[in-house]
């Protein structure tokens, strides 16, 4: 069931209706059942994966609770993490790795024939997300941040919570469990905000992302055939497509959770207004994943408390692992994700190395450094660095990505003239207009939340804005079941 399908909203209305009729203390149990139904609706086999991860988590948490010595505690945690992360790695990479092995073997080799028949089942949508949630739960239990297990049912509900099951956010159990442990009872303000978030998320996904997608797909299908203007447009369009696709999903997930009185962690904070790559990854883009890597990988590796060389190594390692985690999300499994992770790691390292210089500039010329012009330039440079990274994320191969970047670099000076003569279609103008609208909204949101602004306006203005949004969904939305990029494993 996709958040953009009619069937999902029938399911949501039914779930809400029963939820409202139940005594608050039993509502979490109903939501656990609804989550299982949601996940198993498209393929009941999905539930086996979720149940497997849940059982490993509960068993490991049980072991951790009974562990008397640090060694047993560490061993129990290592067991749980290796099963969960091992399963994630195996389901993601086994077939690709086996194909590579088979590929290098001689054509007539019997070993090749034998290995060629080895396959693992494809893991279902959302597996990357709930395994990471499961790992964070176990680490938090081991660190004593969560009583192990507070309730097996609550832990299962945390892993299975349907709004975030397929594509996050990777909400922490420390945020989720206390909410579900109390009787769930949504407040009117949260309910209205939830509906607004769902509508805004759908607008980002069905109107912006899915209207940009065909233009991007056409160019990345055979980039060698695309003109420089088409390549440039596809690079910009994809940057906004992936943002609106993923943050649209998150907005809907946050909104649905609010309808049931659950507040999930914020996952996006206007990322393309970042002043630096560090700010982009650390504070604004896929925040729940960045924090996961920070807390469960970067800090345990020593983080920035070690020497400078080790710190850069840690940073690169975290970004490369992040790239590997993204492999399989929407665009297959390939070296492109490794290149994407490494490139962003390199940005981060260079940014960190240059920080003393920026600080010196800020101290020496504070007014110039903080002027609108310089800030805008920093936003634009950061955006373009990130957009270059997205080329690797979206391209089908590293060779394709390099081809796109090389052709853009060699024709960069010709682009203004070429754009002037380019036959823009209605779809191009629609895409450009929607991106401009999004930037304007985000710019306003940066100063004060648009939802807070809306709440302060008279009812007529508030409702008019809502009707406009809904009309845009009906008139411009693409509803032909295009999956969310980030939910494809």
């Amino acid at each position: 069931m996709l958040f953009t399908s009619l069937g999902f909203y029938v399911f949501l209305a039914g779930t809400l209706a029963v939820f409202a009729l139940l005594p608050p203390a039993f509502r979490w149990f109903w939501l656990l059942g609804a989550s299982a139904f949601f996940y198993g609706a498209s393929n009941p086999g999905n539930l086996a994966f979720l149940a497997g991860v849940t059982l490993v988590v509960l068993f490991t948490a049980w072991l951790l609770k009974r562990a008397r010595t640090p060694f047993v505690r560490r061993a129990s945690l290592a067991f749980g993490l290796s099963v969960i992360v091992g399963a994630l790695a195996a389901f993601k990479y086994f077939d690709t790795a086996m194909q590579s092995v088979v590929g290098v073997l001689a054509a007539d080799s019997s070993l090749r024939a034998a290995l060629g028949g080895w396959h693992l089942p494809t893991a279902p949508a959302g597996f990357s997300f709930y395994t990471f949630a499961a790992a964070s739960y176990l680490i938090d239990v081991a660190r004593g941040r969560i009583a192990a297990p507070a309730s097996a049912g609550h832990a299962a509900a945390y892993l299975a919570w349907f709004p975030k099951l397929l594509a996050g956010p990777i909400d922490r159990a420390t945020n989720f469990l206390p909410q579900i442990a109390k009787p769930l009872s949504p407040d009117p303000g949260g309910f209205v905000l939830g509906l607004e978030l769902i509508a805004f998320g759908l607008f980002k996904k069905a109107v912006i992302a899915d209207n940009l997608a065909p233009l991007v797909d056409r160019v990345y299908g055979i980039p060698a055939f695309a003109s420089p203007v088409e390549l440039a447009l596809s690079v910009y369009f994809f940057a906004f497509q992936i943002y609106c696709d993923f943050s649209g999903y998150t907005d809907i997930a946050l909104g649905i959770s609010l309808l049931f009185g659950v507040r999930l962690a914020e996952n996006f904070r206007r990322p393309y207004l970042s002043l630096s790559v560090r700010e982009f990854w650390g504070e604004r883009w896929h925040i729940s994943l960045s924090q996961w890597f920070r807390d469960y990988l970067y800090v345990p590796l020593g983080g920035s408390r070690t020497g400078r060389g080790r710190m850069y190594l840690n940073l690169m390692f975290v970004f490369v692992v992040s790239g590997l985690w993204h492999a399989g999300l929407g665009y297959g499994v390939g070296w492109t994700f490794l290149a994407w992770g490494a490139l962003n790691g390199a940005y981060h390292c260079i940014g960190t190395a240059a920080r003393p210089l920026w600080s010196k500039l800020e101290v020496s010329w504070p007014s110039a450094w903080n002027s609108t012009g310089v800030r805008l330039a920093r936003v634009l440079v950061t955006f373009h660095l990130i957009a270059i990274g997205w080329v690797f994320f979206r391209a089908r191969s590293v060779a394709d990505a390099l081809l796109v970047l090389k052709r853009l670099a060699t024709r960069a000076l010709d682009l203004p003239g070429l754009i002037w003569h380019y036959p823009f279609t209605t779809d191009h103008w629609l895409g450009i207009g929607l991106i401009a609208l999004l930037i304007a909204v985000e710019w306003a949101d940066e100063k004060r939340s648009i939802f807070a602004r809306l709440a302060s306006y008279p009812v007529a203005v508030r409702w008019a804005a809502c009707y406009l949004l809904l009309a845009a969904l009906a008139i411009l939305g693409r509803w032909q079941s295009r999956e969310f990029i980030y939910m494809q494993f």
């Binding site: 009619l6 409202a20 949504p186 009117p188 309910f191 209205v192 009812v459 409702w463 809502c466 009707y467 809904l470 009309a471 009906a474 008139i475 939305g477 509803w479 032909q480």
Partner: protein, 320 residues
């Protein structure tokens, strides 16, 4: 939460009114740009009585491209309504015939038959929910009630009826200002250059599933029901296979056994079946892998169609 109830009801009520206005505008646009949709053609038909009604999938459509339908009427001296539509099998065509027979009459039915349309629900039940077909069909009470009957009795998706009744596909139509025409009509004067790759791609598209006797049987039964419905209204029925280029014909999977079964059933019912598949063996008569171009339609009219539509009508009379 109770405090939200009254404002929510007001919000929804105003929303329904606004949606209705959007729907009204979309419906007006549908009527303004309508052209090739069979339901649109029926509802916009100037006559009540016709001599011939033509049904079938896209192979029937060139007979109405770019004024060719008017020429057909002129040359045969008959009133002809061509209701062929893209990718539609017997179930959808039965629905179109039922819509037609609600308010119109015809003496004869010419069914342009294609084996592929008997092989998959993609060309039958699923066609009802194709937004391109739904959005081109103007809202009409009779069509709506028939659609609901098909949902109940023939298992077409309920959301097809929901889409039609809520006008959603019309409001959401990306090509709302463009004439509702199949792109094939714009290529009517083009000449096809044979391409094995194109033929392979086309065959893969037309035959998404391997041959399945149960599925074919279901749609043959639907086809027989269509013929019975036409006969009950006093129509004579003629079934025709259109000419196809030789490379395309050779690539058709399991065609001979289907043809034999179809011919057997039609013979049992005494329904004439004319197989013109190899009547025009030159690619210059086609604008793509399998559709007649203008030259092909003219040649087909001369060689095959005229004796069926207007038997005994001399050429001189036809020309006049």
């Amino acid at each position: 939460m109770r405090t939200l109830l009254n404002p929510a009801l007001r919000f929804v009520a105003i929303g329904i009114v606004l949606y209705g206005l959007l729907g009204y505008a979309a419906e007006r646009l549908t009527l303004a740009v309508g052209h090739s949709n069979p339901i649109f053609k029926i509802l916009a038909a100037s006559e009540v009585n016709y001599d011939w009604v033509i049904l079938g999938a896209s192979h029937a459509m060139p007979l109405d491209f770019d004024g060719f339908g008017a020429r057909l009427e002129r040359e045969t001296g008959h009133r002809i309504l061509n209701l062929g539509s893209l990718g539609t099998g017997p179930l959808y065509n039965r629905f179109v015939l039922d819509v037609f027979l609600r308010k119109h009459r015809a003496g004869s039915l010419l069914y342009i038959v294609d084996a592929f349309s008997f092989r998959s629900s993609a060309w039958n039940e699923e066609r009802f929910s194709d937004v391109k077909l739904v959005r081109g069909a103007p809202l009409d009470r009779d069509v709506a009630s028939l659609l609901l009957r098909y949902v109940r009795e023939d298992g077409i998706p309920a959301y097809a009826a929901l889409d039609y009744l809520t006008l959603f596909s019309k409001i959401n139509n990306r090509d709302r200002f463009a004439q509702d025409t199949w792109e094939g009509e714009r290529q009517f004067d083009r000449i096809y250059r044979p391409s094995p790759a194109m033929v392979r791609k086309r065959i893969d598209y037309l035959y998404p599933e391997p041959p399945n006797r149960v599925i074919s049987e279901r749609y043959l039964a639907s086809f027989e029901a269509l013929i019975d419905a036409a006969r009950q209204r006093g129509m004579t029925v003629t079934v025709v296979r259109m000419p196809l280029p030789p490379d395309f014909r050779r690539a058709l999977p399991d065609e001979s056994s289907f043809d034999a079964e179809l011919a057997r059933r039609l013979a049992q019912r005494g329904t004439p079946f004319h197989d013109f598949a190899s009547a025009l063996d030159d690619p210059r008569y086609f604008f793509d892998t399998d559709h007649l171009n203008r030259q092909g339609a003219e040649a087909f009219l001369d060689c095959c169609l005229r004796p069926i539509l207007a038997p005994g009508r001399p050429q001189a009379v036809q020309a006049r």
